[in-house]
């Protein structure tokens, strides 16, 4: 008992030294050189199931910093502190607190809505801007958080685009939905299920699969028996979508497949190969011919390879923040917050302009996989095909 107590007290002492002194040292440093550069945090799953998407986000921010570092002048240099939240609420809060202790002034992240929502609380309280490049859940911006921004679109807009496409272009009468039980994927599928009857589409079934499963044969056999006009696939990422597409092809299901933006990733074609051909998906419209996109693509490709679904959004998020800091002439949260609402520039993904609630608006279009590439296919705005 006694030795254990000694051990505990020693450990406590060590903890004091590790955390306590660490903090003091940082304070000293800050006193010496106030505002030495800008520190941006990223919060995304760098390990675990969604590590691929998490790394895309981190890399997107790193690419943005590389581009902007030269322009920041006396405010620079910009450094990035990447933290791992593993898509776990507890670790997300721990990582957020770590970032607060590290004195970052803005956080780009998180990926999973279930990490973004709890992590936003300490960040908002510490007056740190949070810009999510990937959490499309409506609740993220609707709970009235002052320093919350979103660069990607919203689930409710995406489902509208999907249903419109199914009705107007695919002339669908029946639909079958599958999701993999995450806030994002289920939210989207539910939303489509709700909208479909109003548009004259009969919902034949709505199935759920578990995250981490690779065998979807049982569910797909049901889909095959139901013979829907459209099969709506709402999965959390491309890695779970690829095996599903392979199995769809193997079972000989000929139905049109409509997916959503999380499925967008170059690795989809790499993994699913021919099975991905002809799959439609809703995705934020990105003009890949603009100089802004080309600059992003060149910077990103050189260092990290092909960009993923959220790389461009993460890049734009960091860009928007740095532009706002430049306009505000410092990192004061309220000033930057005001400037953030004034930014209006052509980003890599779209025209970046934040509304009062922090949303940047959605511009979903339908893309199709053709010849191993994603191509813009149909525009829900005017109901026209994109001309080649």
């Amino acid at each position: 008992m006694k030795r254990a107590l000694t051990l505990i007290s020693t450990l406590l002492l060590v903890a004091f030294m590790a955390f306590g002194c660490g903090g003091e040292k940082k304070d000293e440093k800050k006193a010496e050189a106030p505002k030495a550069g800008i520190k941006i945090g990223t919060l995304s799953p760098l390990t675990g199931q969604y590590a691929a998407d998490g790394n895309d986000i981190k890399n997107g921010v790193l690419a943005a910093v590389e581009v902007m570092n030269a322009e920041m002048g006396p405010l620079g240099p910009v450094t990035v502190q990447a933290e791992d939240d593993a898509c776990d609420p507890r670790q997300a809060v721990a990582a957020a607190n770590k970032l607060i202790s590290e004195k970052v002034t803005a956080v780009v992240g998180a990926y999973c809505s279930s990490a973004t929502i709890p992590a936003s609380e300490p960040l908002m309280a510490a007056k740190i801007l949070m810009i999510t490049p990937a959490s499309t859940n409506e609740k993220v911006t609707e709970s009235g958080l002052k320093y919350m921004f979103r660069t990607c679109g919203r689930d409710d807009d995406q489902s509208k685009a999907a249903v419109k496409f199914a009705v107007e272009h695919l002339k669908a009468k029946t639909i079958y939905l599958v999701d993999d039980k995450t806030t994002y994927s289920q939210g989207l599928a539910d939303s489509v299920e709700k909208l479909a009857p109003g548009a004259g589409i009969k919902v034949l079934g709505h199935e759920h699969v578990n995250q981490g499963d690779k065998d979807y044969s049982a569910v797909l056999t049901k889909v095959k028996a139901a013979k829907p006009d459209v099969f709506y696939v709402s999965l959390q990422n491309s890695a779970s979508a690829a095996p599903m597409l392979i199995q769809v092809a193997r079972l000989g299901i000929k139905t049109k497949i409509l997916a959503q933006d999380a499925v967008y990733h170059p690795q989809l074609m790499e993994l699913a190969k021919d099975a991905a051909e002809g799959v439609y998906l809703t995705f934020g419209y990105t003009d890949k011919e603009t100089p802004a996109y080309k600059q992003f693509y060149d910077t990103y490709k050189a260092k990290f390879g092909e960009p993923g679904a959220y790389s461009a959004y993460a890049y734009d998020s960091a860009l928007a923040y740095l532009k706002a800091v430049k306009a505000a002439g410092g990192t004061d949260a309220d000033k930057v917050n005001a400037e953030m609402r004034k930014v209006d520039f052509a980003g890599a993904s779209k025209q970046i302009k934040y509304k009062e609630n922090g949303d940047s608006g959605s511009n979903y279009v339908i893309q199709v996989v053709k010849g191993g590439k994603f191509e813009n296919f149909w525009n829900p705005e005017n109901g026209q095909l994109f001309s080649k």
Binding site: K2, F16, F19, C87, D88, K98, S114
Partner: protein, 404 residues
Amino acid sequence: MTIRESKKLWLGYGLAMVWFYVLLWPLLGIKPEGLEFASSFAIWAKVAVSAGILLALYQIKRGGWLDFALRPAQALRETAASATAKVPTWIWLVLVAAGALAFPFVTERYAHDVAISVLVYICLGLGLNVVVGMAGLLDLGYIAFYGVGAYTYALLSVHYGLSFWLSLPIAGCFSAIAGCFIGYPTLRMRGDYLAIVTLGFGEIVRIVLNNWMSLTNGPNGILGIQPPGVYWWTDVGFKVIPLTGLEQFYYIILGLAVFTVVAVYRINTSRIGRAFEAVREDQTAAELMGVNTLRIKLLAYAMGAVFGGLAGAFFAARMRFISPESFTFIESAMVLAMVVLGGMGSIPGVILGSLALIALPEVFRGFELYRMLVFGGVMAIMMLVRPKGLWPAKRMGVRSEEKE
């Protein structure tokens, strides 16, 4: 160390390194573009050199060439040990208590957050300790009770606006009921059959939480859980003030942890604790001596579950958002790891174990991607170095094997 021993040691080292390279190279070196050796060799060389240095140090130490440095250190350690032995236990207790109380004043919020997590897991670890350490029932689904507690408070708070303090005992009760529910079918099973059934129950609870949309809101989780409040004097008279600061959470969970420690200590030294131990050591003999083993096992499950439920309710209040992702199998495994790593059945051991397993991944954040790799390695090594745990429990009485 004799030459033969030394030869054997280095031969083993050589063999291990060759083996390691054979395992490493295919992972890094075989590519469609062709075979390549440089990248795997670079990593291999680093590992080989550091392992070689460690081995050499070990041999030097065994050879007695470090005695000039180690002897005084040993003497110093002994003096320190005898000096600490003279200090009465209560002084250490006071020191630990003072340290724990003063912790928020000398550290910053990241440390607070880690400390809160550590304390939550201390409660969980001690609760599981009742089941695994004392009663000897391997439980791989313990996190289910944590989940039940968390969801109980979350639902009570969101739907009925019940305060945290009132919900705390209710959460404990619900978890105890869940404990009995899970415990009952497992009573006839032993050892690893028990493990898989508890694992199954843990998964069932998580899947139900994830799918019962109307009750738990599924994967979206529950938002807007009220933080605990206190009735306190303000400018406008007595009013309930919500506690939201990290320091306040720290003190609440500290209180909860102290309660758990005291309760588990009291259980351990009580008649029931002795009965747990009897069931663990020899169920048949215990039954023969008049211990109602079925009731005792159920009691162990229920008691363990209560602490899990309390910790869960706190967790919900602290995060103010819960979703089923927090209650996965890997969490159960982590809590079990804390108990085993610290030393089964030992209260200070479990505290040390929780400290180690929660603080380490945070300390290792500096390693970034290597974080979990290092963590897994350290976990295995700690077990190899101290197979009985960091601070093994003292067994009461003498057992037959020891007498021989």
